[in-house]
């Protein structure tokens, strides 16, 4: 077992760190404050290949391993949760399923521009009545000639209005099982922005990651070519779950980065801040809290990196991804809360980055499977 990062990975981390510090950090507060999608940053990330890190070179990507991708999301999240999730949703939730389930034509048409960053990707599974319970899906797709006709809506979609290519899940059939229960058969589709009948609903006003464009997607007799079916008909649930396994590693990396970023700022702050004639870092409560946070973050990092390694080497990595996301997300929430506490009143003021980080951390416990879902997945594998 090797805990040493390769020289390549060390250098990649340096790259992501430099980029995050120079290009992303200066905009993080404004991105949050104005709830503006950081388009210029995305264009810079496109230039340097950050939008296709784990996509093979033959499809326009960088051909790197999942660990490199994870380190990118982590370093971005250290300074800006919004920027991190833009990359994560695009890469894990849109590039990945096309890479795994797409036909060669679909890969050439959709994956290549996505991996090059010329197009931005999104993923639409969640509906008002179908969050954790994917069987609650209402969006339907009906084959009519050479086209599927989509009707329904998706909500809380990351990269919502900014994306160009969407992976959309819809019910294509309802069957009755042996026990007489009806079961929805779900399929996955690639939908392009601009397709007639595909419109956007309201922009969500969020607690955190406020620069990410979170929208409702509305499909009204939206006709998409038959060849945009992703994978086999009826394979949608499997595609969604497999895609989310990868997505959870991305979100785990985001959570890890948020926690690390908050701790770094808090260490600096507590060394500077003086109370009772000495820095608050010299108070035992502060130093013990910092020790606890650093230890917890290190444990999260090992789980996240192990999940990335599992994605590289194993066909199924559901449990590894669930453990990484569960632990990293809860670490991010606990650490950022404590960091705000150690900042005292200043931590509650929006000028201080930890305030934003605490708000950004919360979503990591919710999206791409809540912490409760992760516990279901982990225990489900153990109690089979």
């Amino acid at each position: 077992m090797d805990f040493q990062l390769s020289k390549e990975h060390e250098m990649a981390r340096k790259l992501f760190q430099d980029f995050a510090q120079n290009e992303v950090k200066p905009l993080a507060q404004e991105t949050d404050e104005t709830e503006t999608f950081p388009r210029a940053t995305v264009e810079k990330m496109q230039k340097y290949g950050f939008m296709g890190i784990a996509v093979p070179k033959e499809y326009g990507g960088q051909g790197c391993d999942p660990l490199t991708y994870v380190m990118c999301v982590e370093e971005l999240a250290k300074v800006c949760g919004t920027t991190a999730v833009i990359v994560s949703a695009h890469s894990s939730l849109c590039c990945d399923p096309i890479l795994h389930y797409g036909t060669e034509e679909q890969k050439q048409k959709f994956l290549v521009p996505l991996a090059k960053g010329e197009k931005l990707g999104a993923f639409g599974l969640t509906e008002p009545g179908a969050g954790t319970d994917a069987q609650g899906q209402q969006t339907k797709a009906v084959l009519d000639g050479d086209e599927y006709v989509l009707n329904g809506s998706k909500c809380f979609i990351t990269n919502g209005k900014e994306a160009d290519i969407y992976i959309i899940f819809a019910v294509t059939d309802i069957v009755t099982d042996a026990k007489g229960r009806s079961k929805k058969i779900i399929s996955a589709f690639i939908v392009e922005k601009g397709t007639p009948g595909f419109t956007f609903g309201t922009k969500e006003k969020k607690m955190g990651i406020r620069g990410s464009s979170t929208y409702e997607l509305i499909f009204t007799d939206c006709r998409i070519p038959k060849e945009n079916l992703l994978g086999k008909l009826g394979e949608g649930f499997k595609i969604a779950m497999h895609t989310l396994d990868g997505g959870r590693i991305g979100i785990a990396a985001q959570a890890l980065g948020i926690a690390e970023g908050a701790l770094d700022l808090t260490i600096a702050y507590t060394k500077e801040r003086k109370q009772f004639g000495k820095s608050i870092a010299a108070q035992q409560n502060t130093s013990f809290q910092i020790a606890n946070m650093a230890t917890r973050i290190e444990a999260a990092k090992l789980l996240v990196y192990a999940a990335a390694k599992a994605k590289e080497t194993q066909k199924v990595y559901t449990v590894e991804a669930a453990k990484a996301k569960l632990f990293a997300a809860e670490t991010a929430m606990a650490v950022t809360t404590e960091c705000v506490q150690l900042h005292g009143g200043y931590g509650y003021i929006r000028e201080y980055d930890v305030e934003r980080m605490m708000r950004d951390a919360k979503i990591t416990e919710i999206y791409e499977g809540t912490s409760e879902v992760q516990r279901m997945v982990i225990s489900g594998a153990l109690l089979r």
């Binding site: 250098m11 990649a12 790259l15 980029f19 340097y48 890190i53 960088q62 790197c64 990118c72």
Partner: protein, 261 residues
């Protein structure tokens, strides 16, 4: 076009500076980066490559760990890399360094050599011009803009309040300013590719037409008498209750007393 870019691994000035007992920098003990001016020189070469097509070879003299800057250069887009490293080359001043680099570059074909203006650890700005003298080619220093016209380069050479436009026939040498451009980042895929490439390692024996008396610490005319970390300034003297004219007199007199003016 064949371009040779000289780069130097220098201490990251954001970190702590450490010295060896002989007064030279303890490079092995410090965080390092690619020298800023050199990186701008590399970026200039990469842009010429994009514009006109070129093969870029990066050359560095240094410790074995200077390999890192060569990998970085290749991850940015350089094609080949040469590390000149040998115990006998250690402790070199600008003369010994330029002699050594010239000995290495004599083995290469080149139309253009680009170096940084100066390195942030020595600030001498001598190695580039010296290198051109050793090789017997023209030098244009302090380049703020570089263009290629036929078999010549047209360079804006920066002065304090103006610039000169200088044309030189290739082969020639240009020293680049950090202000020349904004160097690109590496790409993730470029990093992994860079580690798959070979780095050519040359030692003393590979240097062409170089005399032993001109290399390493022994071949360096410059001897460091003393080196120290940044001198911490004292608290200073605060003088209150003076009018503007009196205050000005006080400042001027104090500066005179200290032989500053």
């Amino acid at each position: 076009m064949k371009i040779v870019v000289c780069v130097k691994q220098v201490p990251d000035t954001a970190g702590e500076v450490k010295f060896k007992p002989d007064g030279s920098l303890d490079r092995a003990a410090m965080e390092t980066i690619m020298n800023h001016d050199d990186k701008a020189g590399l970026e200039a070469a990469l842009r010429l490559k994009e514009q006109y097509g070129a093969e870029i070879t990066v050359v560095t003299m240094g410790l074995p760990k200077a390999e890192d800057v060569l990998r970085e250069a290749m991850a940015m887009g350089a094609d080949k890399a040469i590390l000149v490293t040998d115990r006998v080359l250690g402790g070199a001043d600008t003369w010994a360094t330029s002699t050594t680099l010239a000995g290495a570059i004599r083995n290469l074909e080149y139309d253009l050599i680009i170096t940084g203006r100066q390195a942030i650890d020595g600030d001498t700005a001598q190695v580039g011009p010296q290198l051109s003298e050793h090789l017997g080619i023209p030098v244009i220093s302090y380049a703020q803009k570089i263009e290629v016209e036929g078999d010549s380069v047209v360079v804006e050479r920066q002065y304090e309040d103006r610039y000169h436009v200088v044309r030189a026939k290739m082969p020639c040498l240009i020293t680049a300013l950090a202000e020349l451009n904004e160097p690109r980042y590496m790409t993730p895929g470029g990093i992994f590719d860079a580690y798959k490439k070979e780095i050519t390692v040359w030692g003393r024996a590979d240097l062409k037409d170089v005399d032993d008396s001109n290399i390493g610490l022994a071949g360096s005319p410059t001897k460091i008498a003393k080196a120290s970390d940044k001198v911490r300034k004292g608290a200073g003297t605060k003088v209150d209750n003076l009018g503007a004219a009196e205050a000005a007199d006080y400042i001027v007199n104090t500066l005179k007393e200290k032989f500053v003016i």
